[in-house]
Structures are given as structure tokens and as C-alpha cells.
């Protein structure tokens, strides 16, 4: 028996995506990215002065990511402020984004990336990475490539693309495993690979292959949003 998705999607179907840049007027670069009901907004500030001074790197700028869920983004109000979870996701997002950036032109400075989840329906960290990658591009930071990210799920024995909340909580059979993956759009370099759940080693490569197909679609959405800026 194959897994039936609650929203009627095919197993390899991504939720409808939207993307837009320049949504935060005061930021140097900003973007909003959605996977269905999951909405992530990212704003980039900098390069700007880094304090405390001992954190400065005389060779390159440092990247500082802050990811957080806004208190109204989930059904049970989230207590505002940093948590163990948000700090961890900030850190892995930082690691996922930094291979794409070329920061040696801005020594002793910091590039701040703020990612806020306006509405959470699972896959929030990957939506945040997609938004942040576009925001960094708009901020004019030299980059090797854009970053695309998607969450692959294993529902019992079936792999699905772009997990939503219902699927994340799936408990039948082997239950749900959530695998967020991010990579450089035009190469095979993976910058984020996490696993929450259990999985057989041979399934991992299948999950990555599935993600690669999804990345092509996500990259198109990101590219389109960046190229659509000419108005009138």
C-alpha cells in the first residue's frame, strides 16, 4: 500500500510555491518564500560593523543567522524569544548558507540574516533557507550560487517531497522521518542534510535523488522572483 497524502498531492509533488523579493524596505535585501501554508520571511543587513570586536574575522565577514518562529505562526502560541530549537536551526541555516557566500571582500564585518516564520506548516527551516538565499542575492553579497532546500519525508515506507504538518505527525507503520536537504543550485554540493526519525541507509540516496528533482522546480521559482523586478 502506498501512502496517501492528506492534501491529495502526488508523492513527488511540492506544495504551491510563491516567492517575492524586496519585501522589507529597510533591509539591504529581503525575500518571502512559501511552501503552501508555510511562510518564511528573510531580511539581510550588512555588511555592517561587528560587535563584540573579538568576534571579528580580519580575513572575511562573518555570517550571523537568526531563525525564529513568530508567536502566532503555530496553533499553540509559541513563547517569543530564542529557544533551544531556534538556536539550533539558526546554526544549521548558517552552515547551509555559508558555502554559497564569498565574504572575503568585507573583513571585520558581519552579515546579519533574520529569518522569521510567519506561518508554520512543517518544512520551515527549508523555506527559511530558500528565502534567505534570495535575500542574500538581493543584498548584493557575492555568491557562488543560490541555495535550494526542501524537506523529504519517509511515511512508513514511502518517500514524499515537501512534508506538511499532518505528514510530520504521521505515526503508522514505520512512522514519519523528516529529512531537510539543501544544496547549491548548480552543483551537487549538499550544504544541509538532517534526519529526524529512522531510515535505512539505502533509502538516503533515494531521498537525495528525489530532492534533486524538487530543487530544479524550487530554483526556477527563486530565479523567476529575482528576475521579475523590472516593473511597468
Amino acid at each position: 500500500m502506498t501512502f496517501k497524502r492528506t492534501d491529495g498531492r502526488k508523492l513527488d509533488e511540492i506544495r504551491p510555491m510563491t516567492a517575492k523579493i524586496g519585501v522589507v524596505p529597510n533591509a539591504d535585501g529581503s525575500a518571502i518564500f512559501t511552501f503552501g501554508k508555510t511562510v518564511a520571511i528573510a531580511a539581510v543587513y550588512g555588511p555592517r560593523m561587528l560587535h563584540p570586536q573579538h568576534m571579528q574575522d580580519p580575513k572575511a565577514a562573518i555570517l550571523r543567522v537568526n531563525y525564529d518562529l513568530l508567536s502566532f505562526s503555530v496553533s499553540d502560541r509559541k513563547k517569543p524569544g530564542p529557544s533551544r530549537r531556534s538556536q539550533e536551526i539558526s546554526k544549521v541555516t548558517e552552515w547551509a548558507l555559508s558555502p554559497a557566500l564569498d565574504l572575503k571582500d568585507f573583513p571585520n564585518t558581519v552579515i546579519d540574516v533574520q529569518i522569521y516564520i510567519l506561518q508554520a506548516d512543517a518544512s520551515t527551516r527549508v523555506a527559511g533557507i530558500n528565502a534567505a538565499s534570495m535575500a542574500l542575492a538581493q543584498a548584493g553579497i557575492p555568491m557562488r550560487d543560490l541555495i535550494c532546500a526542501v524537506a523529504i519525508g519517509k511515511m512508513d515506507k514511502d518517500l514524499v517531497v515537501d512534508v506538511n504538518k499532518d505528514e510530520e505527525d504521521f505515526e503508522e507503520g514505520e512512522a514519519a522521518s523528516d529529512i531537510p536537504i539543501a544544496k547549491l543550485a548548480n552543483s551537487d554540493r549538499i550544504t544541509l542534510l538532517q534526519l529526524d526519525g529512522n531510515i535505512q541507509p539505502e533509502i538516503v540516496s533515494k531521498a537525495i535523488a528525489l530532492a534533486n528533482k524538487a530543487f530544479e522546480k524550487i530554483y526556477e521559482v527563486q530565479k523567476k522572483a529575482l528576475k521579475e523586478v523590472i516593473s511597468e
Binding site: 555592517r48 568585507f106 542575492a137 538581493q138 543584498a139 548584493g140 557562488r144 529575482l226 523590472i230
Partner: protein
């Protein structure tokens, strides 16, 4: 002021003179294939391909492919005219906030008249607005100069900020756009490459009108034939 408009002019030629004839590229996109092309500013070579490193317009000049970025924070370069705010007074000069990761340093020697070392705030106090030129950019800091036409302390009026990438368009070809604003509002306007703009007019209405006009241009930066649109905007908003 005439002098720095000429400097800004060079960058304008680089920017959206004919936006249609160029293509928008995103980082990582291939902009040229083959050995014939050289990677210019904002691009790099990887094997047989020239790849964009920044988000902007790609342009081929002869064999060189370069990317003209159209957004992002201000990156100071030599000879840029900037509008800054004095943020501190130290023993040999003034520290000026120029909206970059480092502050600018304006040496005491740059003041046009003699300044008593004990009374430096008589000339420039904390919070004063200055128009200055970037004299040198080094890892140690950014040195400013204030000798030149149109440079110096800016008194009265008010300052506001636009995205620094919009500055060449606000100045316009040979300063055409900025002169249009000056003629229509009667305001004195100084535009810094860092995106800070200082405006002073005869009354607050004229100043606000100038600001509105500048923000109108900043919004429509990629539109062609902007000068005519701004002229029409002025006739509609008498």
C-alpha cells in the same frame, strides 16, 4: 557640486542607461560560454564558462563580461562623495558615520579655517551633517577629505536615506535628473553615494516635495525614459 556630479556620472553610464539591452542574472548563472570571454567584475571563470557571482545586469563590453549589481549596501570607493553624520570628536579630527561597517575619519587639517583643538565642536559638533569625499580606503579605516566644491558642513535642511544603488539614477545623466528636481522645487540637494541625501529649501513644503520626487525616482529605478516620467510627475503634483 558640479565636480562630483561628473564623478557620479561615470557610474551612471555603467548603470541602467538602456536596461532592456541587458539581461538580469542571478548568482551561479552562466553568462557566457567559451574561451573568448573574460570574467570581469562580479563574474568568475569556471572551466569553459563565465559565471555570475552577483545579482544584477550582465553586460558584455568587448570580450569582458561583467555584472552590474543593482542592489545592496554601500561599498566605499575612492573619490565617492558621501553625506555623513559626525558621531564623535577625537584628538585629531572627527569620526563620521557614513552608513558602512567602518566609520570615516575626517582629519582636523581638512577644516577650511583654523580650528582650536579645544573647541572642535565650534566647527563640527556631534550630530552635524557633512558632505565629504572619500580620500582613501584601507583596512585601517576610511579617510575623508572636505576640500572641494560642494563639500563641507551642511547646515539646516534635513537628511534622509535611499538605497545606495539608486543614487546614479537619482543624479541622472550629466546630473539631468537632480537639476530637474532643483529647478522644480528650488531646493538645495546634496546626494551622497552612500544613499544619504540632504535637502534644504525655502520652506518645508518645497523640501518635502523634493524628497517625494527623489523617492519616486528611487522606486522606479529600472524604468526607461524616467526623466519624462518625472517631468510629468512634477506637472501633476504642482
Amino acid at each position: 557640486m558640479v565636480e562630483f556630479e561628473k564623478n557620479n556620472q561615470e557610474e551612471y553610464e555603467d548603470f541602467g542607461a538602456e536596461p532592456q539591452s541587458r539581461t538580469i542574472v542571478v548568482p551561479g548563472e552562466v553568462v557566457a560560454t567559451g574561451e573568448d570571454f573574460l570574467a570581469g567584475e562580479g563574474a568568475r571563470r569556471e572551466g569553459n564558462e563565465v559565471i555570475a557571482s552577483r545579482y544584477g545586469l550582465s553586460e558584455k563590453v568587448g570580450r569582458v563580461v561583467k555584472i552590474i549589481p543593482f542592489s545592496g549596501a554601500f561599498i566605499p570607493r575612492r573619490n565617492n562623495v558621501i553625506v555623513g553624520i559626525v558621531s564623535d570628536i577625537v584628538h585629531s579630527g572627527w569620526i563620521v558615520d557614513i552608513d558602512y561597517a567602518q566609520n570615516g575619519f575626517l582629519p582636523l587639517m581638512e577644516s577650511p579655517r583654523f580650528v582650536n583643538k579645544n573647541e572642535m565642536d565650534q566647527f563640527l559638533a556631534i550630530g552635524d551633517v557633512v558632505a565629504a569625499k572619500i580620500w582613501n580606503v584601507s583596512p585601517k579605516g576610511i579617510d575623508l577629505a572636505m576640500k572641494g566644491k560642494g563639500l563641507g558642513k551642511l547646515e539646516g535642511g534635513f537628511t534622509f536615506r535611499v538605497n545606495p544603488s539608486r543614487v546614479p539614477r537619482i543624479i541622472g545623466r550629466e546630473g539631468s535628473m537632480i537639476n530637474l528636481i532643483k529647478d522644480n522645487t528650488g531646493c538645495n540637494v546634496t546626494i551622497g553615494q552612500n544613499g544619504w541625501i540632504w535637502v534644504r529649501g525655502n520652506d518645508i513644503d518645497a523640501e518635502l516635495k523634493a524628497r517625494k520626487a527623489i523617492e519616486f525616482i528611487a522606486e522606479k529605478v529600472l524604468v526607461s525614459g524616467l526623466t519624462e516620467k518625472v517631468e510629468r510627475w512634477f506637472s501633476e503634483n504642482k
